[in-house]
């Protein structure tokens, strides 16, 4: 294993609200290598977006460290910090809000090229043309003078990706980057992001609520499942979707409606004990999933917070029962 490129080392993020303190992200560790693809998956409120923003250096963790090439990012200053800022880029969810409507595509792409690469005039134009080609906006010259409103959602998202690429990033964090574009073109955007990892060695982190999207995108990578601020499972994609180790991931995968009438109508279900997700203001003691968990054992799961431990096959899971039995929850619940 090579040294990680970027690493979350036990990061937490708390927010103070009038109603009390909320821990949106709690002790999350994740280390990513060069050209890796990884998805952070979870439902709303699980902390996946906050984790992504910490990873991109946009949000200072309240605890723990963000390491880039082994050094603490929040200790960096001056040129060193600027280098990190260029190295890690964020692609937002909403391509309608993330592009300045009063600027043409050329005016959107030129400033970062000028600032970071000292590319002006003809050199800048050539760089823009090559970027637009790279993100599949062809013929590129047609797009330079267009405004965002003249483009479709998918095209705008491609412009956002091109903008992120102006500074030759080494890590791209894409937060729900395909959820607002039409289903018919999502795959091509995922392919574009995937190619950045395989061809240009960019580490690509996709944050999504959609496990099918995660499976497709990270087919050669890993998936981290988050629940109420914690990573509950981290594993290579195929074992995670076919044989989930945590009871929560098992329940999610069993519940997903699938675009196949036979499969979706005959899927084995996992019945949870409670439907409501606990409030972040009032988290249950022990394992945060225990009030809903069909495997929960009184005296253990409601008392002790489970660590993220290893199961055979290089997968990590934060579940007392799965770790003790050395078996994924999907087997224990009989839904494999």
């Amino acid at each position: 294993m090579s040294a990680p490129l970027i690493e979350l080392d036990g990061v937490s993020r708390t927010y103070t609200t009038p109603a009390g303190t909320i821990t949106a992200v709690d002790n999350v560790s994740l280390s990513l290598e060069e050209s890796e693809t990884i998805c952070i998956v979870g439902e709303s409120g699980c902390g996946k977006t906050t984790t992504g923003r910490i990873l991109a250096g946009l949000l200072r963790p309240s605890g723990g460290r963000l390491l880039f090439e082994g050094a603490d990012v929040w200790e960096k200053k001056g040129k060193d910090l600027a280098r990190f800022r260029r190295a890690v880029q964020l692609v937002h969810q909403d391509p309608y809000a993330s592009l300045n409507p009063t600027r043409t595509i050329a005016q959107t792409l030129a400033p970062p090229l000028a600032k970071h690469k000292k590319a002006h005039g003809r050199a800048a134009r050539a760089a823009m043309i090559s970027l637009l080609e790279r993100v599949g906006l062809t013929p590129p010259a047609d797009f330079l003078l267009k405004y965002p409103h003249q483009l479709s959602g998918g095209q705008r998202q491609r412009v956002s990706i091109a903008r992120a690429l102006t500074v030759d990033p080494r890590v791209i964090v894409a937060d729900e980057a395909v959820s607002m574009v039409d289903v018919s073109i999502r795959i091509s955007l995922l392919d574009l992001l995937h190619n950045l990892a395989t061809e240009f060695h960019v580490t690509t982190v996709l944050i999504t609520h959609d496990l099918a999207v995660a499976r497709y995108f990270a087919r050669k990578g890993r998936i981290a499942v988050m629940y109420l601020g914690k990573v509950v499972e981290l594993a290579a994609t195929e074992p995670l979707v076919s044989d989930p180790a945590h009871p929560y991931s098992t329940a999610l995968i069993a519940a997903i409606p699938e675009a196949d009438p036979t499969i979706t109508r005959t899927k084995k279900r996992v019945t949870l004990k409670g439907a409501e997700v606990p409030s972040l203001l009032n988290l249950p003691p022990g394992c945060v999933f225990h009030p809903r968990c069909p495997l929960a054992e009184p005296g253990l799961c409601d008392v002790v917070v489970p660590p993220l431990g290893d199961l055979p096959g290089g997968r990590s899971v934060a579940c007392h029962v799965a770790l003790r039995e050395r078996q994924p929850a999907a087997e224990l619940l009989g839904v494999r």
């Binding site: 979707v241 519940a255 009438p261």
Partner: protein, 342 residues
């Protein structure tokens, strides 16, 4: 006898650039107790059609031709010929619409109970106690605790609870038809699953007919009996849910099926549809899917193809190349398109 029979329905939007032909010559029947899912990309006309069925279209929309025949066995009429008062009654009592459970579907400053009461009163339920009893019964039916929900304001409820409230409210006057527009979009997976199961349960208990509008094929796979694929305002394929998922015959349906990755089973050959939908103001001559279609031949440019009966019963596709599509997919086995093309 269909409860709703739509014939040659065409709807246009007036714009500065000319009329947008959002729905063109749509014909279909909705049988008693049946669930139809309408699928297509944004801009395919599915929402215009759904909203048009209860004449809730914006002012810029105009029905240029067609008929929407409602017949519940006791009363029969053309929805397009109803006057304002009868239309208002039709809208909740015979045919209710459930929108996405966004906060905007509610009046934000009144409680859930007052929303039910308002709706009941607007539709002639004068007796407050009757509305109250009915409301409690419906909230029970959608598995919500009336004590907790009735006095709450919309913002105090979770997305899943709001969607349940909207479904309960749609059932207030016991309609024969429910139209659902993206009923599970923006909900979390486990909530989505609960809403799907609820709709299935309600449908079998109450026997209403359902029309679903969704860009999410998996909801259609879960709940639909029959499916309509819309492209550029037209129905381009009409089939049972199994035929559409496993034996689609229109290249656009094939494209949609291939565009959606799955969590279980083989991934197969997933791919996006190239290009974008046509300009509905200046529709090209011939088949409107021609520029994006991998099966096209010169003949496709001659006319916009009518719906043709294909190789399975009660299955039509508006494609002169449907046999080529069938050959490309190979077997008729119940396997998803992406797997067959892999």
């Amino acid at each position: 006898m269909p409860v709703l029979a739509v014939r040659d329905l065409s709807i246009e939007y007036r714009t500065r650039h000319g009329p947008v032909q959002a729905v063109r010559d749509v014909t279909f029947d909705l049988e008693q107790g049946e669930t139809i899912a309408i699928i297509g990309e944004s801009g395919s006309g599915k929402t215009t059609l759904a909203v048009g069925l209860i004449r809730l279209s914006p002012r810029s929309a105009r029905v240029t031709k067609g008929e929407i025949r409602y017949d519940d066995g006791k009363r029969a009429f053309d929805v397009l010929s109803l006057d304002a008062e009868r239309l208002r009654r039709f809208r909740w009592a015979d045919c209710a619409m459930v929108f996405q459970a966004a906060l905007s579907a509610f009046n934000p400053v009144i409680t859930i109970w007052e929303q039910f009461l308002d709706t009941g009163r607007a539709h002639g339920m004068g007796d407050k106690h009757k509305v109250h009893d009915r409301t409690r019964e419906l909230l029970d039916l959608v598995h919500l605790d009336p004590k907790r929900v009735l006095s709450a304001y919309p913002h105090e409820l979770s997305g899943g609870m709001r969607q349940r409230v909207l479904i309960a409210m749609a059932l207030l006057l016991d309609p024969r038809i429910i139209i659902l527009d993206e009923p599970t979009t923006a909900l979390d997976i486990l909530t989505q699953r609960a809403i799907i199961d609820l709709l299935r349960e309600l449908r079998s208990r109450l026997g209403f007919s359902t029309i679903f509008i969704s860009h999410d094929l998996s909801i259609a796979a879960e709940l639909a009996d029959r499916m309509l694929t819309m492209y550029a305002g037209r129905i381009v394929e009409r089939a049972s849910v199994e035929d559409l998922f496993y034996r689609p015959r229109h290249p656009y349906s094939v494209g949609l099926m291939r565009a959606v990755p799955r969590v279980s089973g083989a991934m197969g050959s997933v791919a996006s549809i190239p290009g974008s939908p046509p300009d509905l103001i200046r529709l090209p001559k011939g088949c409107s899917y021609y520029p994006r279609c991998p099966f096209h031949v010169d003949e496709c440019l001659e006319q916009d193809p009518p719906l043709l009966q294909v190789d399975t019963p009660n299955h039509e596709a508006a494609c002169i190349r449907w046999t080529a599509v069938a050959t490309a997919l190979g077997s008729d086995a119940e396997a998803p398109v992406a797997e067959k093309l892999a």
